[in-house]
Symmetry: C2
Subunit: 312 residues, 2 copies
């Protein structure tokens, strides 16, 4: 039996045929034709999946299901609104069902899908209760309970980037103040380093950005942290202290077996994981007890295809 996972992103669509061990056997991709509009993207996905199957001599009847990850929330009526894709309340689930009538289809938010991939075959394997934080431009999340993606009663759970954990000096894109996303995304790291530099603190980060403060990225901040640069140390220390607050609060709430950190920021896993358990322990109510193992994601971008393939 094969499983198909499709990861729909703002620039490209990745499809993969996955075996029961979570191995991607074959893959194919196409561009996301945002200008062409919703129906065009849906048609392209249909062609992509069918070509992927044909080229590898696999009949759609040999497929258990096709799962889709989408960079948005899918509401209970199957509607999706996604600024990056130019979609406003499009009937996403309906459009998929029409094109893939002969097979079971499932779809979920991409961060939830990535968490499922990590829970099935990656950093959170063999755990029943696990949580993944995807730290990138924003902060996404996925909650796995009893081995399944958990998204709540109306499908809008697991948006843990918008749990409020403090007060911040700028508001979140969602309109609120204090969301985790404003403390622990790549964007928040860049913003805070820029803030300190603008306030006159000298930093090797600025050299890396060739003196153009707008060109600073999170990698430069982590690289300067390794050089003990003051701005970088302050920025990353703040980032980690809020990450520890968020994870401590999550442990006090859901007490998962494993918490995994994914997304672009997790490439600096050595810096993030260093001493993180001690920082988290400070925020845990039952300080003497064992708590969740903190790890970094291992499947990388493949988590999107693999997780989607195993939605059910």
């Amino acid at each position: 039996m094969y499983f198909v996972g499709v990861d729909i992103g703002g620039t490209g669509v990745q499809a993969g045929i996955v075996d029961e061990n979570g191995k991607i056997l074959f893959r194919k991709e196409c561009k996301t034709d945002v200008v062409g509009g919703f129906e065009k993207i849906m048609d392209d996905i249909n062609i992509l999946v069918r070509e992927l199957l044909e080229e590898n001599n696999i009949d759609i009847k040999e497929i258990n299901s096709i799962g889709f990850g989408v960079p948005s929330f899918i509401n209970k009526d199957g509607l999706v609104t996604c600024v990056n894709l130019g979609w406003s309340e499009v009937q996403f689930m309906g459009a998929l069902k029409k094109r893939f009538e002969e097979v079971k289809i499932y779809a979920e938010n991409d961060a939830t899908v990535a968490a499922l991939g990590e829970a099935k075959f990656g950093s959170m394997k063999d755990s029943n209760i696990s949580v993944m934080y995807t730290l990138g431009t924003g902060v996404g999340g996925g909650i796995i309970i009893n081995g399944k993606a958990f998204t709540g009663a109306h499908g809008m759970g697991s948006e843990i980037g918008h749990a409020i954990i403090g007060e911040n000096y700028f508001d979140c894109n969602c309109g609120n103040n204090g969301c985790l996303e404003t403390f622990c995304s790549a964007t928040s790291i860049i913003k805070y380093a820029q803030k300190l530099i603008s306030e006159g603190v000298e930093s090797s980060i600025l050299e890396k950005a060739e003196n153009n403060i707008e060109d600073i990225n999170a990698k430069m901040v982590f690289d300067s942290y390794r050089e003990n640069d003051q701005v970088a140390v302050e920025t990353i220390t703040r980032f980690k202290s809020y990450l520890a607050k968020a994870m401590g609060s999550m442990i006090n709430t859901l007490d998962p077996e494993v918490i995994s950190i994914g997304g672009g920021v997790s490439r600096a896993s050595d810096i993030i994981l260093d001493n993180i358990e001690e920082l988290i322990r400070e925020h845990i109510l039952y300080k003497k007890e064992d708590f969740a193992k903190i790890v970094c994601a291992t499947l990388g971008a493949d988590a999107g295809i693999i997780g989607a393939a195993f939605l059910n």
Copy 2:
């Protein structure tokens, strides 16, 4: 088939025989002999339950199970530490099993037990995913997933009073700053009203406490709120704004069907529920979607017996 629930508190132990519809048929109580020590309390509970059964001509074989609620966390080895009861790492589960060998026994934290009672037969009835906040001296919580009490991988979940939601002007008893408990407990309401009064704001709350600021209680603050007293309005407005942040974050995380508010503070349910959904909506990521119904608990103190009876 009967179910027995036992609610162990700092001053008394309440036991009840409950039918399958959640009705308490018979009840009996005894004092919690904190001075007598752990084994004495366990002996008293044994006598209490057996007398309750005998007096009502019910054989222990007719009992499905006995459940216990305890004002503490029970760790994975069955150990309990509870300052109120004078217990330090006592072998709670072992002591119960020794005394009730002939019947299945279960035990959980009392706030979790109350949530289960409300989910089975009270304010959160017929919901699969629900969350209860117990707002009293502290803030406890219970999370129900698929109709069962959810306490995580190590049994220390659902302590949602210690989720960090902001920065506060005093630290929590747990040692951290910003715990929900420091914004939304009865204690936090009293403290904030005292703070404003100490700063010189006139208030009818002080009259209610016969000019003794130490004697202010939460009921006085709610009563003065009804009279539009400035200190009370500021205090309750602040309390509700943080409650809305916590519940909005919970909806973004777990997206329950129902959130119920219990504990002593919930006696002012008209004030708490008034406009609360609009306040919460501000903190929800998907603002157009339906979200959890916000209600107040309906079983009162009986939730402790009823919920314990249905632990499994």
